[in-house]
Symmetry: C2
Subunit: 238 residues, 2 copies
C-alpha cells in the first residue's frame, strides 16, 4: 500500500506503517457495506460513475434523464474539487443532485456518500429508483473505493485514445460496464476505433461489457437504458 | 491534509496524525530541492508535464521532438500505472525515455524521479537540454508534488470541455503554463471555445500564460518551442 494515495507504490511503503492504509480501506469497506444494505433494502439501484475529467459523465446522466423522463425517479450526488457546475447541469436536466465538494481530494469515499445521505441528498435518494454517484474526474484513485454501489460504470471518451484500458488497468479491472462516449467525434479521430478500444478492454478485463454512445446525437442511449433496467432489482419504478 | 491521498479532504483528517502527511510532503520537497539543484547546476531545463488521461501529453512531446530535431538534446521519463507505451512512442520520436511504472499510484513524486536519474534515465538526462517529466494522466494528484522542475505545464484538451479550470483549480493554480491541445477538433465541439477556456483559466489563476496547439496539424508548435526556449537558462544547446 502506498502511504500517499492509499493505492500502491511499493517504493514508498517503508515510510509509514502499512496498517494505516489497510485500516483506511477496511473502514471504507465497512461503511460501503452499510450503504449497500440500505440501497438493497430500499430498492435503490446505485451506480458509481467514474472516468477522466471531460469523459462525459455529466452528459451521460443528462441523456439518461431525457430518456427516462416520467418513467423512473432519479437522484444523484456529484463529486468535484470545486464548484457545483455538474450538479446544476443535472438539476436542470431534472435529476435532483447534491454536490460533494472534495476540496483537493481526488475521489469519493463511502463516508462522503454516507454523510450526503444523512444531509441534503436524503429526500431525493430515499424515493429514487436509480441513484447516480458521479465521482471526481479521475481514472485512477476512485477505482479502489467501494461506495456501496450496485455497479461501477467507467465512462471513457473516444477522444482519450485507444490505449487507456491498458494504461489504467485498475479502473477497468474493477468495472462492471464501460461506456465509450463521444462516438460522434470518431470520424475526426483518425487513430481511434471502437474496435481497438474493445480489444484493449478485453485484454485488461476479458468479458467486461462495453457500450458505445453519443450523448449529443442520442446514439446508443437506448442500450444504456436497457443496461440500467437490467441492473434494477425491482424494474424501473415511478 | 487528507490521510488517503496526501491532498486535502478535511472530513478524513481526524483518522490519522497530520504529521504523517506533512512529513511526506516535506520529504518530497526536500528531495525535489535536491533535484532542482542538480538540474540547475547541469543546465538542464526540467518540465513537469501534467494533464488528464488522453489530454495529449505524449503527442505534445512527439511534436516537440519533430520541431527541435537536431537543434536540442531532449530526454524524458514517463509515468504510467502500467505499460511502457508512452515511452515507446517517445523513443520512436527520437526522445530517449525511461518508463516509471507506478503500479496503481496516481502521480509521480520526487523520489521516483531521483531513483530514475540514478538508474536507466541517467545517461540521457545528463547530456540533455530539456528533460520532460510526463506525469501520470491525472488532473488532481500530481499537482501537489514538486519534482524539482523548472516549470509545471498543464496540458488540457479542448475535448474535455471549458469548465475544467474551475473544477480542478489546484492544478491550474500551481501551473506555469497551460497548453490547450487538439484545437483541430474545435469545429466539431459546438459548446467549446478557447475564449471560454481562457476566461475560466483567468478566473482560477489570473495571468497564467496559455498556448493553443494541435499536434496533428502543427498549429501552435512554434509558440510552444519559443516558450521552451524562454525557460532554458542556457538557450538551446546541441
Amino acid at each position: 500500500m502506498c502511504d500517499v494515495c492509499g493505492c500502491g507504490d511499493p517504493r514508498l511503503a517503508p515510510r509509514v506503517s502499512i496498517d494505516v492504509n489497510a485500516s483506511l480501506l477496511a473502514d471504507n469497506d465497512a461503511e460501503a457495506a452499510h450503504l449497500r444494505e440500505h440501497f438493497v433494502a430500499h430498492g435503490i439501484t446505485a451506480l458509481n460513475v467514474m472516468g477522466s475529467p471531460g469523459s462525459g459523465k455529466t452528459a451521460l446522466l443528462e441523456a439518461t434523464a431525457r430518456a427516462l423522463a416520467g418513467s423512473a425517479r432519479l437522484a444523484a450526488v456529484s463529486g468535484d474539487l470545486a464548484t457545483s457546475l455538474d450538479a446544476e447541469r443535472l438539476e436542470r436536466a431534472g435529476i435532483p443532485c447534491t454536490t460533494i465538494t472534495t476540496g483537493s481530494a481526488c475521489h469519493l469515499d463511502a463516508s462522503m456518500i454516507h454523510h450526503a445521505l444523512h444531509g441534503d441528498a436524503r429526500a431525493a435518494v430515499e424515493r429514487c429508483a436509480f441513484f447516480f454517484i458521479e465521482n471526481v474526474g479521475n481514472l485512477v484513485c476512485p477505482a479502489i473505493y467501494d461506495l456501496g454501489q450496485r455497479a461501477r460504470v467507467v465512462v471513457l471518451s473516444v477522444t482519450e485514445g485507444v490505449d487507456k484500458p491498458l494504461k489504467y488497468p485498475v479502473m477497468f479491472r474493477r468495472a462492471d460496464l464501460v461506456v465509450l462516449t463521444k462516438i460522434d467525434l470518431l470520424p475526426h479521430l483518425p487513430g481511434v476505433s471502437t474496435a481497438a478500444l474493445r480489444d484493449n478492454i478485453a485484454i485488461t478485463r476479458p468479458g467486461l461489457p462495453v457500450l458505445e454512445l453519443s450523448a449529443t446525437t442520442g446514439q446508443g442511449v437506448d442500450a444504456w437504458v436497457d443496461w440500467l433496467r437490467s441492473q434494477s432489482q425491482l424494474g424501473i419504478r415511478g
